[in-house]
């Protein structure tokens, strides 16, 4: 077994607030390999984004209270700021949910991609005057090369007429074009790990399909490891190789997508699948999980899902929940497993029609 690209082990990220310590990530462990897409699935507040930020060490104002993050053999939790600066953007890139807020509205898109290219070229030291564009100190030929590379990157993202588009401003782009431009920025340095935090949530379904196809081709052609964070089960099913289901900052279930989504073993995964509108017929009530997500302040005794789980017993609310292996690669944190099969939790109810739609 070769070493995985990224290994997160028992990660704890906490936020100190007036109300107490918020345990946003509470003992999460997973790995991401080269050339695979790992999906992180969970409701809002389940610690998906904090996990992603912790990997980039952008957890501030929170703090990493324990655990290890190992990226290509480098321990990130204790790494120096200069090491992190070298890794961020170069080796680990991030794409965020809203492309409008990621791009600077007052610079042309091409300029912003060129900037990313330049930063990664001049690794050790960035000369302030070069960056400010002060004429005699500006390395004109390097910037011209970076701009050409930016046009090339836009072209790779299938943006029509990349040359003229590179001088356009973000507001002149449509949502899908913007997200593609953000991907171009993220890929400027050819990273080995891409963290995509809800990259398609703000986009249309048609645009979403295009961005997801792009992510898949990145995995297949460039051997990039991708951590895809989303709450959309459809996105996970169509894109990822493995999936991690997070709740209350803990991994509830992890395993290959086919296994977890078609035969979910954890009650939380089942309730997530059941409350998807795509698994519900018109007129039928959606089976939404009862109650609210557990308060993450001061952490959880036992299973964080116990209060909303109909299989929960007293033992679930007490000690730590051990992680069991259901089969190789399919891990599960539940005392009550294996659960009886329920009809409504299986996505098999939905059978695809030849035109790609879904009907009962």
């Amino acid at each position: 077994m070769s070493k995985p690209l990224l290994r997160v082990e028992d990660l704890h990220t906490r936020f100190d607030t007036d109300r107490g310590t918020v345990h946003a990530v509470d003992g999460t462990s997973f790995t991401v390999d080269r050339g695979e897409i790992v999906g992180v699935l969970g409701e809002s507040g389940s610690g998906k984004s904090v996990t992603a930020r912790s990997i980039c060490r952008l957890e501030d104002p929170g703090r990493i209270a324990g655990g290890t993050i190992e990226f290509e053999g480098i321990e990130l939790t204790t790494a120096e700021e200069s090491t992190l600066r070298r890794l961020r953007g170069n080796e680990i890139s991030m794409v965020f949910q809203d492309p409008t807020e990621t791009l600077n509205p007052v610079f042309p898109v091409g300029e912003q991609i060129a900037e990313a290219v330049r930063i990664h070229e001049t690794n050790d030291r960035q000369r302030l005057l070069d960056f400010l564009g002060v004429p005699p100190f500006r390395d004109r030929s390097a910037w011209a090369d970076a701009r050409e590379r930016a046009v090339e990157l836009l072209g790779q993202m299938d943006i029509p007429s990349p040359k003229s588009r590179s001088t356009a401003f973000p507001h002149e782009f449509s949502g899908g074009l913007r997200q593609r431009a953000v991907l171009a920025v993220a890929l400027a340095s050819e990273p080995s790990l891409l963290i995509a935090d809800e990259p398609t949530t703000a986009l249309d379904t048609t645009t979403q399909a295009d961005i997801l196809r792009r992510l898949r081709s990145l995995r297949d052609e460039r051997d990039v490891g991708i951590l895809l964070i989303t709450h959309d089960i459809g996105v996970i099913a169509q894109t990822c190789d493995r999936v991690i289901v997070l709740y209350g900052g803990q991994v509830m279930e992890a395993g290959p997508v086919e296994r977890v989504l078609t035969d979910p073993a954890h009650p939380y995964t089942r309730s997530l699948l059941a409350c998807s509108v795509r698994n519900t017929d018109s007129g039928e009530r959606i089976h939404s999980a009862q109650g609210r997500p557990a308060d993450p302040v001061d952490g959880h005794e036992g299973c964080p899902f116990a209060d909303r789980c109909r299989h929960a017993t007293a033992a679930c609310r007490e000690g730590p929940i051990p992680t069991t292996e259901r089969s190789s690669e399919h891990r599960l944190s539940c005392l009550e497993a294996p659960l009886p099969a329920t009809r409504e939790s299986s996505p098999q109810r939905v059978s695809p029609t030849p035109d790609g739609g879904t009907t009962e």
Partner: protein, 360 residues
């Protein structure tokens, strides 16, 4: 709790609450002084000749990619914009913009805006925003739905009375969406325009909001104009669906028929873009190209540059509505389409079904 009182409301009548008759709206985009002097005005056509009706107790889904004019259409209904051509009718009476409408006419339409959180005053507790909406809706008369005070309003959307003292920033996405709904209910509307009410919410919250919307409709007999780009959501809630592309309605019909057997290639493309929750299904193929520039619309059918079935006829002639198996579609290549224009332009309410028809 307020007891459901369905008898107090009349059964759905044949007169639509809201009726749009051939409305068009364009926005002028004059870029430079030179253009202004030369008088050349390239106006962006946001909505082109759209007719649509919403009956009480009926949900009309409006789907389409971003930029296709969905929100503009919503603003025409609410009166925030006035159409350049065509008529907006409330209960059969032609109305103008908000300032021209009587208090009674304004009351009839409620709105939940796309970014619910941003539509509240951040410096006011939400209770104050709600009571403002109550005040505006004629304090003198007794609210027939028993939503007289804030507590009852909040209760009707399954929130506790303590929420009234909270500020918008203190509420979660699902809570603020419920408060926005409560505010729309405050003035006792007959139709609520819901502009992307669940996009940006995670699946579990989305499910609870959709269930709540269905409950409120049952209880109060409200009609919804439900705007979304997520077809799965629209499919779940809507009785009838109108598909918009580049400012035009291209297909409209009952939800089951339209999704089960789409006639317009664009509807089919939208359906195909929904990622299936079953990992065994092949990923969707995205639609090539981008929606047309509203200032430079293609001739003939607006969808022809992206349409797989396009012929020269599509580029030359603009298809008219034809009725195919209960749905009305604007395409030359729809199954069983004759290519002949439909001459029937009169409105004939159909007494036998709750769903109504749309005319162009």
């Amino acid at each position: 709790m307020i007891e459901p009182d369905r008898d107090a409301f009349e059964p759905p009548s044949d007169t639509p609450v809201v009726e749009l008759r051939g409305v068009s709206k364009s926005f002028s985009v004059r870029n430079s002084v030179l253009e202004r002097l030369s008088g050349s005005d390239s106006s962006a056509k946001a909505v082109c000749d759209v007719s649509l009706v919403v009956h009480p107790c009926e949900t009309v889904g409006l789907v389409g990619e971003s930029g296709c004019g969905k929100s503009t259409l919503a603003k025409l209904v609410t009166g925030q914009l006035t159409p350049d051509r065509g008529q907006v009718r409330l209960d059969g009476t032609r109305v103008g913009g908000v300032s021209d409408r009587s208090a009674g006419q304004c009351r009839r339409i409620g709105v939940v805006f796309q970014h619910a959180g941003e539509s509240f005053d951040p410096r006011w507790p939400v209770g104050r925003s709600l009571s403002e909406a109550r005040h505006d809706a004629d304090m003198g008369s007794e609210n027939e739905r028993g939503l007289g005070d804030i507590e009852q309003l909040l209760c009707s959307v399954d929130l506790g009375p303590e929420i009234a003292d909270r500020y918008p920033r203190e509420l979660s996405g699902g809570q603020i969406q419920r408060v926005a709904l409560a505010r729309a209910l405050a003035h006792n509307p007959d139709v609520i325009v819901l502009d992307e009410p669940v996009s940006g919410l995670d699946v579990a919250t989305q499910a609870t909001i959709l269930d709540l919307l269905a409950d409120l409709q049952q209880r109060f007999g409200i009609g919804y104009l439900f705007i979304s780009h997520d077809l799965a959501v629209v499919q779940y809630l809507a009785d009838r669906i109108a598909v918009m592309y580049a400012g035009e309605v291209v297909e409209v019909g009952p939800a089951d028929g339209l999704f089960g057997d789409p006639n317009h290639p664009y509807t089919e493309a939208l359906l195909q873009a929904i990622p299936s929750p079953d990992p065994g299904v092949a990923p969707p193929t995205p639609l090539d190209g981008d929606p047309p520039d509203p200032t430079d619309r293609p001739t003939g059918c607006p969808f022809h540059p992206r349409c797989p079935a396009a012929t020269t006829e599509c580029a030359e002639r603009h298809p008219e509505f034809e009725t195919v198996e209960g749905t009305r579609v604007r395409c030359f290549h729809a199954p069983e389409a004759t290519g002949e224009c439909e001459e029937d332009r009169s409105y004939q309410p159909n007494r036998s079904t709750r769903s109504s028809r749309i005319h162009d």
